[in-house]
């Protein structure tokens, strides 16, 4: 069976359309209006809560993002179990027990795909209705398994902890009997996946501080990508909050979570500056709906 599978070769049927971060970053629109901070303005908060006028559609879009993320996480964990030979963790090898953990994660992700697809159906979304961002699988394409652990298990599965916590809260507040329940169960798995990443990263790089530093640097790059525009953080501008308690359970230090919050804040400011420039260039004056 083929090893090291590039993102453009992912198998999808005709319902799915793929996109990437570059396309997303090229979109000069913003959901936020930093100049208009009135309480009634939708632009004053970006957090996904039932109080938002577009709550149902926002939750549907996020759930579809979760579903395609689960498909890619399944593909990524499966690849990591298969792409590297069993060994002591040096070079291109990974410990056999790490392979087993990746296989277990693939099994979890397969279950999550099914759950997310059913939840999407429950929420009135068709599979493939929204563009699929393939950034998760791209992070799982590194030649170094330790970078995959950092990029996928710690950065992206860490994001999943934040997203599932947000969706669980949404389900609880809206009184949705299935959403909160399903997200809670998947959240428990995600905490385990991040913990596996934290533990294996530490173990495999125990005698190789340079490799560990490189992996943590890669994790920050992926974290920064996912903080694009201030997508998740402690502030109300972030659609997704940081689930600090669950991140702590998964092996993140307070300092690491603070760093993500800081990156999110910087990314938000960068995005706002870019949006202002784009609006000036277009000579646009927003017409409030």
């Amino acid at each position: 069976m083929r090893q090291f599978f590039p993102v453009q070769d992912l198998a999808r049927d005709e319902r799915f359309v793929q996109t990437n971060m570059a396309e997303r970053m090229a979109d000069a629109r913003t959901a936020l209006d930093p100049e208009k901070k009135s309480k009634k303005s939708r632009g004053s908060s970006n957090r996904i809560t039932p109080e938002r006028h577009d709550a149902s559609d926002a939750a549907r879009g996020l759930m579809h993002g979760i579903m395609v993320g689960e498909i890619q996480a399944l593909e990524g964990a499966g690849r990591t179990a298969h792409d590297f030979e069993a060994g002591d963790g040096s070079g291109d090898t990974i410990p056999f027990e790490l392979k087993l953990d990746m296989a277990r994660q693939a099994w979890d992700e397969a279950r999550h795909v099914e759950i997310s697809a059913k939840l999407s159906d429950w929420m009135g979304t068709e599979l493939g209705q929204f563009a699929e961002n393939t950034v998760l699988f791209q992070a799982a394409c590194s030649d170094d398994p330790v970078l995959r652990l950092a990029g996928v298990n710690r950065a992206l599965e860490g994001l999943a902890i934040d997203v599932f916590t947000q969706m669980k809260e949404f389900g609880n507040l809206a009184g949705d009997p299935y959403l909160a329940f399903c997200e809670d169960w998947m959240l428990a798995d995600e905490v385990t996946h991040v913990k596996m990443g934290s533990d294996w990263l530490r173990k495999v790089t125990e005698k190789d501080p340079e490799r560990r530093a490189k992996a943590l640097e890669f994790q920050q790059v992926v974290d920064k990508l996912f903080s694009f525009g201030g997508a998740r953080g402690d502030s109300e501008e972030s659609p997704i909050g940081l689930a600090r308690r669950f991140r702590e359970l998964a092996g993140f230090t307070d300092g690491e979570v603070d760093k993500i919050a800081e990156m999110d804040h910087d990314a938000f400011e960068e995005r706002m500056a870019a949006v202002r420039l784009a609006q000036e260039a277009a000579g646009a004056s927003p017409a409030p709906a």
């Binding site: 629109r29 039932p50 109080e51 006028h53 949705d176 277009a282 017409a287």
Partner: protein
């Protein structure tokens, strides 16, 4: 032989888009098609806020006569192809603008005279009216995902059999007044 329906005048602002790949003429064509389907003869002005990807919409009518202008305000996400961001989707536009045109048509009725402006509606009032509009669009043959509106209805009114029955009643209705919607 029935008279041919009067042609609706449609204008779109802005005439040229910079943030999204929309064409004013494509939006106008969808509105004209909907006007014919829904029997709306009033002039329609569509104002698109292309600076935001959000999808809020509102409709207002400058009076109750057949020549009163219907103004529809839409954030760009309401007309967007969700598979190709920043691209226009005629199907999304038909669903979103269709609901707004039905709201405007409702507002021309005497039993909608006391209806608050779209931006002053509560979340539940909005959801009930959306259900009523989406059901009617589905019956004239537009592609509408009923479950999407059922989910929105449940989010606003609760997850129960009674709420589902309320949804089914509004979805199947064709001749409600504002008071019926708020029951």
């Amino acid at each position: 032989m029935a008279d041919a329906p009067a042609t609706t005048t449609v204008t779109v602002t802005p005439e040229e888009f910079h943030f999204v790949k929309y064409e004013a003429s494509a939006i106008a064509a969808v509105v004209a098609e909907l006007a014919e389907l829904l029997g709306v003869t009033n002039p329609v002005h569509v104002v698109v806020d292309e600076t935001t990807p959000l999808a809020k919409m509102s409709a207002e009518v400058g009076g109750t006569s057949s020549d009163a202008t219907i103004t529809i305000r839409a954030e760009s996400g309401a007309l967007e192809d969700t598979q190709h961001l920043t691209h226009f989707s005629a199907d999304s536009a038909r669903g979103a603008l269709g609901r707004m045109m039905l709201r405007a048509r409702d507002r021309l009725r005497p039993d909608f005279a006391d209806t608050p402006g779209d931006l002053d509606l509560s979340l539940t009032e909005n959801a009930a009216w959306d259900t009523y509009c989406a059901g009617r669009l589905a019956r004239i043959g537009l592609p509408v995902n009923q479950q999407r509106f059922r989910y929105n209805h449940r989010n606003r009114f609760g997850f129960s059999d009674a709420v589902d029955a309320h949804f089914a009643r509004l979805w199947a209705a064709d001749d409600l007044g504002w008071a019926d919607l708020c029951e």
